[in-house]
Amino acid sequence: MNAVIAAPRRHYLNVNYGLKSWLLTTDHKRIAWLYLIGVTFFFFIGGFFATLIRLELLTPQGDLVQAETYNKLFTMHGVTMIFFFLIPSIPAVLGNFLIPIMIGARDLAFPRLNLASWYIYMLGGLFTLAAAAAGGVDTGWTFYTPYSSIYSNTHVALTVVGIFVTGFSSILTGLNFIVTVHTMRAPGMTWFRLPLFVWAHYATSIIFILGTPVIAITLTLVALERLFHLGIFNPELGGDPLLFQHLFWFYSHPAVYIMILPGMGVISELIACFSRKRVFGYSFVAFSSLGIAVLSFLVWGHHMFVSGQSVYASMIFSLLSMLVAIPSAIKVFNWTATLYKGSISFDAPMLYSLGFIGLFTIGGLTGVFLASLGVDVHVHDTYFVIAHFHYIMVGSAVMAYLGGIHFWWPKMTGRKYPEPLARLAAIIIFLGFNLTFFPQFVLGYLGMPRRYHVYPPEFQVLNVMSSAGASILAVGYLLPLIYLIWSLRYGAVAGMNPWKAKGLEWEIPSPPPTDNFETTPLVTQEAYAYGVADAQAVYPSGEPANV
């Protein structure tokens, strides 16, 4: 062994080279990179559609595109961003990279299945891109029947097949995570020593495996109606289009939590590290993830308050929807309590985290407005709803994703990113985001409906503000793309633990070796033992910490 000391250290990035070594890899860390490339690609595709939407809405008339094209633009924007960016983003990139390391395992339980998930994801993405290239689809990302099953002349079947295929990627990823967390934890890594990131992904995986099959069969039935003239949702035969909405939202509301729960896991890690404190109320935060996962399956009816469903059902769904606010608020209050009297530093990941807390609070509270029956009838299908869910999906989920990417970038690459630029980008994104979406709350409250390419002239000022904000947001998103790629080659060498953070991932080299750990680690501490480390630093001679 002594002979190899002079050679460069072997790690997962330089263990072998060439396209084949990446495309046939079963290393969870390399698969995370494959996903990173995939989701980044789809993020910018979805962003392209959003750009065209915001350009069209600069003026009240339809001058850039007409109604048909506009319908396709918002549909493709929603489909791409939800199914091909947001849902896989944090779980498939950061979760894939970190979960085995965080629990002290060499890989996920099923590495080949993990690689297959990526191929399935890309295959589904290509179907949907093919549909876009062939002329697009105009049903909205919700594919409501009977429009989608009978009347639309666009590429509905191709798109839903793409989503169906990609759904299996989610299912297999969730299955892999659950089995890994159950069976492969290192000795001493008890359930209540797991980082909250792992708890959040465990909860997300439950939604993956229980929700995704339902959207799979629902969209399959729509495709079968189009291709083979089955009549399950066809009102001409006595079929019930509302049944589609029930089945669709049974998955698609939990899917919102698929997008936000992993982000909450990221934020728990970041807040603890940059406050140098253990997370306040660890078990409450852990169980609130499970609480959100369970409740998420009981609230779908709040999308259907004006669809003609029974008012009694609506009242129950309204109540249950408000209940989801409780575990969500537990998290926000516990993060805030973690900050209290913490030793806070404002590195870029922390800026994203603080942005997350503020934007999630706004997005979450407006969600409570929408869960109230009376208010929802007023603002249903207006820009108020658009603003609300973008605060959750962009303001919260994307902020958490970027915060996590920055935080673990040194671990993934072995390089630091340029901190001043990163802080600047975080601030630009925060400002651009609010300028884009806050005016939409006002627009929606004033009555501007969603999914129209024209609007009355009195709404123009707010729409111009929103489009201006979107251009700032675009700059904010392009900056990390540039400087993170730059840092791969020119960034400062990061070392094992640049943030002085806690967790097994920071106790192995950056970038990690292929097998993560030389020997299986023995875990003796709870997660986030920040106080303990500080005490040891104060008493380096080995005096007891609790004097």
Binding site: P100, A105, R106, D107, L108, A109, F110, P111, I171, L175, N176, I178, V179, T180, H182, T183, M184, I209, L210, G211, T212, P213, V214, A216, I217, T218, T220, L221, L224, F228, H229, L230, G231, I232, N234, E236, L237, G238, G239, D240, L243, L247, D515, T520
Partner: protein, 216 residues
Amino acid sequence: MSDSNLAHAHQFDDAAQQHEASWLGMWIFLGTEIMFFGGMFLGYTVYRGDYPAAFADASNRLDITLGTINTAVLILSSFTMALAVRSAQLGARRPLIACLGLTMALGAVFLGIKFTEYYQKFVEHLVPGGGFGLSGPLAGAEQIFFSFYFAMTGMHALHMIIGLGLLTALIVKARRGRFSVAYNTPVEVIGLYWHFVDIVWIFLFPLLYLVGRHLQ
């Protein structure tokens, strides 16, 4: 993989951990399958509540004899699958291959009978769409019944075909002597899958074939 001579894959500590992971993985997968079929069962339940007379009438147009034979065939295949798992656990290679082959044969018989039934439905114009042959006040809801019939039995048949593919892979591996008393996890988990597909049929048979039988 280069680790084929090891008793377990590199990411696991030992064979017991690998077995536990595979076992849990298949159970979770079957959970997703329940949700997948559950969507169709839910739709069926809703419409049967809405249109009980149409569902009973349409149900009587299915071939009860072929359906019953198929149910027996499938239950028998579950029995041979269970024998295959037992043979694998005992390390008995020839009985294992024989039982897997028998299971495949029974699965193929099931599919053959199923497609015969499909052919009859085509001939009788009971396939949903423009050529649907029934008319009258119940015709719309009867078309919905046959939509469910084809969607549910079609998805079930697709699962059977996938199962036959998995059994083929097992036979190939068994012939190469890859299974032993110490390692037979694939036989066990694919056995679970096969039983699951059987159980789906156990629900489909009464819901589709027996709904209106007492009215005849």
